[in-house]
Amino acid sequence: MSSSFVFINIFAISCLIFAFIKDKRKAIQGVVIALRNFIKIIPTILAVILSITLLLAFFSEKQISQIVGDKAGFIGIIIVAFLGSILQIPSLISFPLAASLLKRGASITLIAVFITTLTMVGIITLPLEIKAVGKRIALMRNGISFIIAIIIGIILGMIL
């Protein structure tokens, strides 16, 4: 058992106990929402885990690192950043995917750039954001986030 598993579950259980003490009705409502979300997300999670299984079984380290490895260079980083900005993968399932790619020799920089743009930059949701906070703020926030994601990825790649 990993320590993160213990930590996460203890944290959730304490929150749950606290919630029940504070307001039983609301706590039950929260659990119902959790159950509903579980049903909603479980097909996607299974599909991703199966895809990871195939990826790790049929692609060698060499093949994967050629596409998303250190040799991908700056152009690779830009491509991954764009992919992350456009795709709408729930971050919850992007992490196991990232872990499996890292295991097979993907570069830390590329993975970090991908995860960061995936969450921070949203081209699909940009029209909604413009409507809410105006063109200036929305465009600046997404544009700067795109650059920030790349910087974060490069720093992570250098340190780790």
Partner: protein, 179 residues
């Protein structure tokens, strides 16, 4: 009411779509499993490992998200952020954004109201960015799969850059307003 119904219909359609995708991936996996006996062991071990790793934290993560959705209302977020000022407003923006309460498109209307109320631009920008990428359950899944060092360092860098970005955008907005 009608809108809600429409939304329900959409998620149901999404769910069916995801089931179809799962079905396709499942069939492909079974076929490959049958035709490549040498790969069977790797496949079973990998599936088991990732499945257990996911299922051992998923209920906890979802319960946290559910509880926060119920206990922290839009009104609360707006009240807290609406009153804060100075550098505290930026940190509060990040904190409020990091609470796990649903997808990004829920945060947009909140941000819109906050701006109209006259809350600092830097605070609203950090709130939106934190909502997008510093969610507490998300960090937990990252911890589980990518390890403490990766998660902590990325989190630290993200917070620093989000604060800088918030202040910069606020400055740029003021500058263009003056012209």
């Amino acid at each position: 009411m009608r809108k809600q119904f429409k939304k329900l219909k959409r998620t149901e359609k999404d769910w069916k779509q995801n089931i179809v995708i799962l079905g396709i991936v499942f069939v492909v996996t079974i076929i490959l499993f049958l035709f490549f006996p040498s790969k069977r062991e790797v496949m079973i071990v990998t599936f088991e490992k990732f499945f257990i790793e996911m299922i051992s934290i998923l209920p906890a993560v979802l319960i946290l998200m559910g509880l926060f959705t119920v206990f922290i209302s839009k009104k609360m977020v707006m009240r807290y952020l609406g009153e804060a000022a100075g550098i505290k407003a930026i940190f509060l923006g990040i904190l409020m954004g990091a609470l796990p309460t649903g997808p990004l498109y829920i945060a947009f209307p909140i941000a819109s109201v906050l701006l109209k109320k006259g809350v600092r631009v830097a605070s609203v920008v950090s709130f939106l960015s934190a909502w997008a990428c510093i969610k507490i359950p998300q960090e937990m899944v990252e911890l589980q799969f990518l390890g403490f060092k990766f998660m902590a360092l990325r989190l630290f860098l993200t917070i620093i850059f989000v604060i800088i970005m918030g202040i910069f955008i606020e400055w740029a907005v003021k500058l263009t307003n003056q012209k």
